[in-house]
């Protein structure tokens, strides 16, 4: 599993940081940044974050 984020689409709702703080952060502009590639322990939370993102700025790649 691989994650990509699109800061241009981000609307700063912060849902990803609440769901998976190990994987996602907000930079100084409040936009999504990726902290790590989720390992087995973070996968479910990262998927939740992707599903919750209101602007679909987080994509999960199953490869």
């Amino acid at each position: 599993m691989r994650i990509t984020v699109d800061a241009d689409r981000c609307v700063g709702a912060g849902q990803c940081v609440l769901s998976a703080p190990e994987v996602f952060d907000q930079d100084e502009d409040g936009l999504v940044t990726l902290l790590m590639t989720p390992g087995a322990e973070e996968e479910a939370k990262a998927r939740l974050a992707s599903g919750l993102c209101p602007s679909r700025a987080i994509t999960v790649h199953e490869d």
């Binding site: 700063g12 912060g14 940081v17 609440l18 769901s19 502009d29 409040g30 679909r56």
Partner: protein, 392 residues
């Protein structure tokens, strides 16, 4: 896809004595396609009641938030600010990309990190409200003396309203949202007072910058000075009564379900369960678009009912149950798409601190009237309580 004739229903304005969300919503969700209704002014609109359809509407680029478009739903009740779209900077009424400049400028003010840093100040505000309640005797109204002042004081502090002006600020915002207890003229006057006040505040901050949102926006310059008052009014209105209604309804629900007192998960479930902003996310199709197999033509109004979506059995198991142990984060109480509530993480913290401190400091808190005697708001777009009489 061919659909049978759409179901036509009364527009879902709240009525005294009818529970919320209205039991009728469940039937709307079962009907294929969308549900047709008529606004009080006679215009026809599509009601959207399923969770996945509400999300689809709120992210479709063929669907607009701009009330200037022909066919935009006019539900006949407002939050009290007349002609909102004529105020520059009223960016909830804009679409991308015009909207995005405002949103991006404000995002840093409401990040998870930033609102967590506001926690000590919010705790102090909540404590002061409880001090005042306790000092006043052994009973009170939690809407007037707790739920309304907390968000007003928090937003005052965020905007940099000097402490000496906060009573003025609070009284005008209270008039603005008191649809039952004020006249149209009084609300218009209060809106003018507030607009004049925020204009003055911006001029003061231009000369004397401080550690506040207005000063930071002036420093970055991404929002023009003439647009700032509209942005500030929007933050004020979006964050006040919505938060207050959630605090009030949450306290009642916790009193009815005391096993959840002290469990912070009650915050998210309160947001879902009560969905106070059912009629807020109004839209209009600007091109022909298909939603749930239903053709919505350009110029037709769309009303996504977030309370209906948040009680959709396909999205939430036993949705009529107040169950904070469920995973409720995918609710659409804050809307969805690029307009999803900017202040949502601030609201969550305000609610959490309000519930926790209230029940910790007043463990004998109880309703002073029967729960079915509480006066429910039926006169504005937001669901909530007019009063919440309690004793301890």
């Amino acid at each position: 896809m061919t659909l049978s004739d759409p179901l036509v229903v009364d527009f879902p304005l709240r009525k005294p004595g009818v529970p919320f969300p209205p039991p009728g919503y469940a039937g709307y969700r079962e009907h294929e396609g969308l549900v047709l209704s008529h606004l009080p002014n006679g215009d026809r609109v599509w009601l959207v009641t399923r969770h996945e359809d509400v999300r689809a509407v709120l992210t479709d680029p063929k669907i607009s938030s701009n009330p200037e478009h022909k066919g935009f739903p006019n539900v006949g009740v407002s939050l009290g600010v007349p002609k909102q779209t004529q105020i520059p900077g009223w960016f909830v009424g804009m679409d991308s990309p015009e909207h995005d400049r405002f949103r991006k400028a404000l995002i840093p003010e409401f990040t998870v990190r930033r609102v967590r840093a506001m926690r000590p100040a919010i705790e102090e505000t909540v404590d002061r409200c409880i001090d005042a309640l306790l000092a006043s005797g052994d009973s009170g109204d939690l809407i007037a003396d707790f739920a309304l002042p907390i968000p007003s004081l928090v937003i005052s502090s965020l905007l940099g309203v000097p402490p000496g002006d906060r009573d003025f600020f609070e009284s005008r915002t209270r008039t603005l949202i008191s649809i039952r207890d004020s006249t149209e003229e009084q609300r218009t006057a209060a809106a003018k007072d507030l607009l004049r006040y925020v204009n003055r505040l911006v001029s003061i901050k231009e000369k004397w910058r401080g550690d506040d949102l207005i000063s930071r926006l002036l420093a970055t310059g991404s929002i023009a000075t003439h647009e700032l008052p509209g942005v500030l009014m929007l933050l004020l209105i979006a964050g006040h009564e919505t938060t207050a209604n959630n605090i009030g309804l949450g306290v009642v629900t916790l009193l009815m379900n005391p096993q959840w007192i002290g469990d912070d998960r009650a915050v998210e479930e309160t947001l879902r369960f009560h969905s106070v902003a059912d009629l807020v996310s109004l839209r209009v199709a600007v091109e022909d678009v298909e939603i749930a197999g239903q053709l919505v033509k350009a110029g037709e109004g769309i009303v996504p009912l977030v309370a209906a979506a948040n009680h959709d059995e396909n999205a939430f198991e036993c949705p009529h149950m107040f169950d904070p142990s469920r995973s409720a984060r995918h609710h659409v109480a804050f809307g969805y798409g690029v307009h999803q509530c900017l202040g949502q993480n601030l609201v969550r913290i305000e609610m959490e601190i309000a519930y926790r401190k209230l029940f910790e400091r007043i463990p004998t808190l109880e309703l002073a009237v029967p729960v079915d005697g509480l006066a429910v708001k039926t006169d504005g777009v937001l669901y909530g309580l007019h009063e919440l009489p309690v004793r301890w």
